[in-house]
Every structure is written in structure tokens, then in C-alpha cells.
């Protein structure tokens, strides 16, 4: 890379990448924190809050996110338009049914810095409910990020040999 001209080196250093995250069976908060780090550009050593060096992040399978605990029923998203009588409260399950990308969108929005650059960063976040991505976005992707949570295997996914090899803990 030392053979680059000055302008080519500058272009390489400040290039904007596209990241892909698969949100299947992942907690939306962890996905959102990974997104916010990359949208701000904090994963780069050249980070500065005033230079617009965030990258694009594409999240797929947002329909299949997995809240831990009872958050699907207990977590409440509230909104008020300002007019009397328009205070709405939706549980996470209702919100997800209405718009499968809203939970991750609101989580990322809350994790970004609360300044004017937040809206630009949100424009660089691309959310898709399933793993069908448009072609122009597929062409731009450069790296897939590892999932934050290891997905536990279901009992039906274990082979019979593994079930038999499991040690007998006690005789029932």
C-alpha cells in the first residue's frame, strides 16, 4: 500500500464499508449496539465525532429476533404525538407484529449520539425482515459480522449418537 499516491491513500483510508449482520435468534439490544458502533465509525482508528466516517450496516432476519426473559410481553414502547388522548403504549410483541423492523430501529436510534448526525447514521442503517436482500445492496456488502449470541441447539437437532453418548446422571 506504500505505492499508493496521496489521494489514493486518502480515498482508501476514508472509504465507507458495508457490513452484514444476521439477527436470527439474537437479542435485539446486542445487535443494536454492534450496529451503533459501526454507524458512528467507532471501530476505526481514524474516528472523530465531527468527521462523517460511519459505515453502512445491513441487518437481515429482523423478524426472527429473540428477546430474553418475558420482554415480549413486558417491554412497552410508548409514544405521544402531543395531541390530547394520543398516548399509545404497545408491548414489544404488538410492535413487532405491526412492523418487524421497528424494534431494532428504535434500539439503534436510542444508542446513537443524540445530535444532528444521528439521522444521517440512521439513513445508513438498512433493515430487512427476512434474508431476501435487494441486488444492489448485495453487491455492496464487504464483511459479515459474527453473531453476538451463540444459538443453542434444539433437542431435535441432536443426533441419536450424541444423545446416546450423553452420560447417564442418575437412574430414574
Amino acid at each position: 500500500m506504500s505505492s499508493f499516491s496521496r489521494s489514493a491513500q486518502q480515498w482508501a483510508t476514508f472509504a465507507r464499508s458495508w457490513f452484514l449482520i444476521d439477527a436470527r435468534m439474537q437479542p435485539p439490544g446486542k445487535i443494536a449496539s454492534m450496529c451503533s458502533v459501526r454507524l458512528q465509525g467507532k471501530h476505526k482508528p481514524i474516528y472523530h465525532p465531527m468527521s462523517d466516517i460511519g459505515d453502512h450496516v445491513v441487518v437481515m432476519n429482523t423478524r426472527h429476533i429473540a428477546f430474553s426473559g418475558n420482554k415480549w410481553e413486558q417491554k412497552v414502547y410508548s409514544s405521544h404525538t402531543g395531541y390530547p388522548g394520543s398516548f399509545k403504549q404497545l408491548t414489544a410483541a404488538q410492535m413487532h407484529k405491526k412492523d418487524p423492523t421497528a424494534i431494532i430501529k428504535l434500539a439503534v436510534y436510542g444508542m446513537l449520539p443524540k445530535n444532528l448526525t444521528r439521522r444521517t447514521m440512521m439513513q445508513r442503517l438498512h433493515l430487512f425482515t427476512d434474508d431476501v436482500l435487494p441486488e444492489d445492496i448485495l453487491e455492496n456488502l464487504t464483511e459479515e459480522l459474527p453473531q453476538p449470541r451463540e444459538i443453542p441447539r434444539k433437542l431435535s437437532e441432536y443426533t441419536q449418537e450424541e444423545c446416546d453418548a450423553f452420560p447417564m446422571l442418575w437412574t430414574p
Binding site: Q9, A12, L20, P45, D131, V132, L133, T142
Partner: protein
């Protein structure tokens, strides 16, 4: 005026002067004075005392003495990069003119404007400047859901 309204430049040296040999950047210095005006008194004293020593100490600089009928005596310094600097020396003492001439001979000919940074390097990065693929593990498979 503000820093934005006035010209500015980056720190530089003329052809890395001083890394190898040092070349005095003052090419020519012309003393324009009058033989009989009071303003040129300091210049005339300087010419009596100091100019020959100065010329001996700076063999690379050409010294021109031009007595003319002029109201204001001047020192015109020309540098190797083409810049010309004129200083009026009316009513200056010989000592002040000596200091002025040493200052002019120590300058390179670069413009005296705001220097943007007090440092400059031709090799800003030793290990290579970071780019997004510096520490990224290489992968052959295309990125996307089809890869699954």
C-alpha cells in the same frame, strides 16, 4: 484580517536545505541609499563598518551598493526561489541595520504568512496508514445470505 481571509501555507523547506549541505537562500542584497540625506545616515555608517565583513561571511550572497538620489533608503533582498523583499531603513542606526541584514540572510525566501502546522513530514506513516482491510480476516466466500 482573519486566518481564513489571509493566505497561509504549510511548513516546508526549500529543497530539504540543511539535510545535506546548507545553501544560503539569500541571492542578492542591494543597499539603495542617498549620499547626502539624513535618513541614509545609518546605511552610510553600516557601509563604512559592517558591509565588508558581512560580504566576507556570506560568500554566496552578492552585495550591491547603489547610491542614488532617493528620499528613502531601502534594502532589497532577493532569494533563490525568486521572492523579493524590500525593507525601508530610514532613520535606522547602523546596529539595527546589521540585525536586519542578518535576519534577511537567515531567512529562506518562503512567504511570511500563517503556517498551518508547525510540523511536516514526507513519511507520515511508518507501518502503513490504516485502511478498512488492514486487520480484516480474508474470506473467499461471497458475503450475503446465499453463502449460508
Amino acid at each position: 484580517m482573519t486566518a481564513r481571509g489571509t493566505p497561509s501555507r504549510f511548513l516546508q523547506s526549500v529543497l530539504h536545505n540543511g539535510v545535506g549541505r546548507y545553501v544560503c537562500q539569500l541571492k542578492r542584497i542591494s543597499l539603495i541609499f542617498s549620499k547626502k540625506g539624513q535618513g541614509s545616515l545609518g546605511v552610510r555608517d553600516f557601509i563604512e563598518e559592517g558591509v565588508v565583513d558581512f560580504a566576507k561571511n556570506n560568500p554566496g550572497t552578492v552585495v550591491y551598493i547603489s547610491p542614488q538620489s532617493c528620499r528613502i533608503p531601502k534594502i532589497v533582498a532577493e532569494y533563490l526561489n525568486g521572492n523579493v523583499k524590500e525593507e525601508t531603513v530610514t532613520n535606522k542606526t547602523s546596529q539595527e541595520i546589521v540585525e536586519l541584514i542578518t535576519k534577511l540572510s537567515n531567512q529562506s525566501g518562503l512567504d511570511i504568512i500563517r503556517i498551518r502546522k508547525p510540523f511536516h513530514t514526507d513519511s507520515p506513516s511508518i507501518q502503513g496508514q490504516w485502511h478498512p482491510f488492514t486487520n480484516r480476516p480474508p474470506s473467499i466466500d461471497p458475503v450475503g445470505p446465499q453463502a449460508k
